[in-house]
């Protein structure tokens, strides 16, 4: 099994989610995160004090997937999350040893 973590622009989330549903991927966990990278932030001024906000709101999608599905999911995300502008985010893949469904102790890919 693979764990796919995708950091994306919040404004793209709805489209990504819908696209994933279409290819039959339902299970995911979403985390509100703040991202720092090439994308420049903006400055805010409060009573003359300037702050450069370089931590920008992003959404992180975490999906544990059967190896078979990974490529398809990656492609889907790449397609739907892309705006072409700096800050579109990343996809990271890493191995997962085991998955267990709490409800019924099911294990392995069938737990996903």
């Amino acid at each position: 099994m693979m764990k796919l973590e995708a950091v994306i622009q919040p404004s793209r989330f709805e489209s990504v989610k819908d696209a994933l549903r279409e290819i039959g991927v339902e299970g995911m966990t979403v985390v509100e995160v703040r991202g720092h990278g090439r994308q420049k932030g903006h400055t805010e001024v409060y009573r003359g004090r300037e702050y450069t906000v370089d931590l920008l709101p992003k959404l992180k999608l975490e999906m544990v997937l059967p190896d078979a599905l990974v490529q398809k999911v990656v492609d889907t995300i790449l397609k739907t999350a892309k705006t072409g502008k700096i800050g579109d985010g990343k996809i990271f893949l890493s191995r997962v040893e085991e998955a267990i469904r709490i409800r019924n102790d099911e294990r392995g890919e069938s737990a996903l």
């Binding site: 404004s11 709805e14 703040r34 903006h42 400055t43 805010e44 001024v45 409060y46």
Partner: protein, 472 residues
């Protein structure tokens, strides 16, 4: 576009500086002489003074309450309904109008609304508030200082344009908003206010207008004008990016709830204060206001309960606002039971406007400024013609001073016709005026923000700040 804005900013500064000088100049002009004591009837004068103090206390409190309606009332009601990234932008628009309209009012606005006795617009008689002092202006309010009347009316001029921001929410530039509202106040609000409430105004029922339209506290002047203009703005600006596919739930109904409650309470000043005295009529308007709000909250909730299987807090507060809007023109003319009825009807109708009609036509009246104020104001204006009663407010007399019937049920069916005329005039002026002004402002500084800015949010892009910084 940015160059244009910089230009505007500079223009604004120049204007402001010029203003300062104007004010300075004004300082002498505006210094009104103290009240000259009538030597004949000292006693009589003391009674008049006591009466004046009593009425003045009530109208001053009412003025404060009406300001409370805009800030924080309306600002919270609207601010809570938008997405988090636009909350300050909405609040800022209301606040900016509190400041902007006030200065315009002092310079020329009041005079354009209530100066002279023209049929369609005031004059410059009271520019810089010349001649507005402590003595009453018997045409408008015989027992309170003219200046009290002036400041009270100002609060209405502030909230009216602020209501429009509910339709332009989440996508209109701040620079464009400021410019548009300035023009709208001078060219749409002022004429309408004068026609309905100003001496000699063609629609003025109290001071012998050609088409006496009953509008106790602003059904036409405030709600139809703002509501209909809101519709035009929504159509002109187009939908928010992602609307309606993308969900845009209110970011904090808690804020909206607070705002709605403050609107309800403030509305007592709005309607009961419009009696311009602390008398039985004020009480009657107070009661009608409260009853209509309650009945409308109930009927909107009932509609939701039937339709969705459960009533929502948003529904209840929306209903109450709808009821308050509808009773505004009627408050000082109808008995408590008709007030309940008007509210009840307004709740259901506005519910349908907001849930059905809007969906049907598909315009993006973001916060339902038209659905509530346009529709509610129109309903209220017409029902006023039906339920207005001389028992509550004997506004018409014959030569011998005996009260004549006022509304239809009271025996004066023609009133409904006059109400219709008033409504049509208000709709027309709002439709045409707003459209023209939007075109102009669009050319000068632009109306809509770029899509990136819209996605990033107006708080950051228009004001360089965020409503919440909770990651501390």
């Amino acid at each position: 576009m940015h160059r244009k804005e910089a230009a505007l900013a500079r223009a604004f500064l120049i204007a402001v500086v010029f203003l300062a000088i104007a004010m300075f100049a004004g300082t002498l002009a505006a210094q009104t002489p103290p009240v000259a004591a009538d030597p004949l009837a000292k006693l009589d004068q003391r009674i008049a003074a006591a009466q004046s103090s009593a009425d003045n206390a009530w109208v001053l409190v009412s003025a404060a309450l009406v300001l409370l309606m805009t800030g924080p009332g309306l600002a919270l009601f609207y601010g809570g309904l938008v997405r988090q990234k636009n909350v300050l932008a909405l609040m800022m628009q209301s606040f900016a109008l509190m400041a902007l309209i006030t200065v315009l009012w002092a310079l020329v606005g009041y005079s354009l609304c209530f100066g002279g006795s023209g049929g369609f617009l005031g004059n410059f008689e009271h520019a810089f508030l010349r001649g507005v002092g402590a003595e009453p202006n018997s045409d408008y309010a015989g027992t309170i200082p003219h200046m009290t009347f002036m400041i009270y009316q100002l609060m209405f001029a502030i909230i009216t344009p602020a209501l429009i921001t509910g339709a332009t929410a989440e996508r209109m530039k701040f620079s464009g908003t400021v410019l548009f509202m300035t023009l709208w106040f001078l060219l749409v609000y002022a004429p309408l206010a004068h026609m309905v409430w100003g001496k000699g105004g063609v629609l003025n029922a109290a001071l012998g207008g050609r088409f006496p339209t009953l509008d106790f506290a602003g059904g036409t002047v405030v709600h139809i004008s703002s509501g209909v203009s809101a519709l035009v703005c929504a159509l002109y600006l187009g939908k928010r990016t992602g609307y309606p596919r993308q969900p845009m739930p209110p970011h904090s109904l808690v804020l909206s709830f607070i705002g709605a409650c403050l609107l309800w309470v403030g509305w007592f000043g709005f309607n009961a204060g419009s009696a311009l005295a602390s008398n039985g009529l004020a009480t009657s308007a107070f009661v009608a206001t409260h009853f209509a709000s309650a009945a409308a909250a109930l009927s909107w909730s009932a509609a939701e309960w039937i339709k969705n299987g459960r009533p929502s807090a948003l529904g209840a507060i929306s209903g109450s606002v709808a009821g308050l809007v509808a009773i505004t023109p009627a408050a000082g003319f109808v008995a408590p039971m008709p007030a309940l009825f008007i509210g009840f009807l307004a709740g259901v109708c506005c519910y349908l406007m907001v849930t059905r009609v809007k969906a049907l036509f598909g315009y993006d009246d973001a916060l339902d400024a038209f659905g509530v104020h346009g529709a509610g104001g129109t309903i209220g204006a017409l029902l006023t013609g039906i339920f207005a009663s001389r028992a509550i407010n004997p506004i018409y007399h014959d030569a011998r001073g005996t009260a004549l019937p006022v509304g239809w049920l009271d025996g004066n069916p023609r009133q409904l016709g006059y109400q219709l005329i008033g409504v049509l005039v208000a709709w027309t002026l709002a439709l045409v005026g707003t459209f023209v002004l939007l075109k102009i402002v669009d050319l000068l500084v632009g109306l809509r923000v770029s899509e990136e800015h819209e996605i990033e949010g107006l708080d950051i892009t228009q004001h360089g700040e965020e409503g919440y910084n909770l990651e501390a």
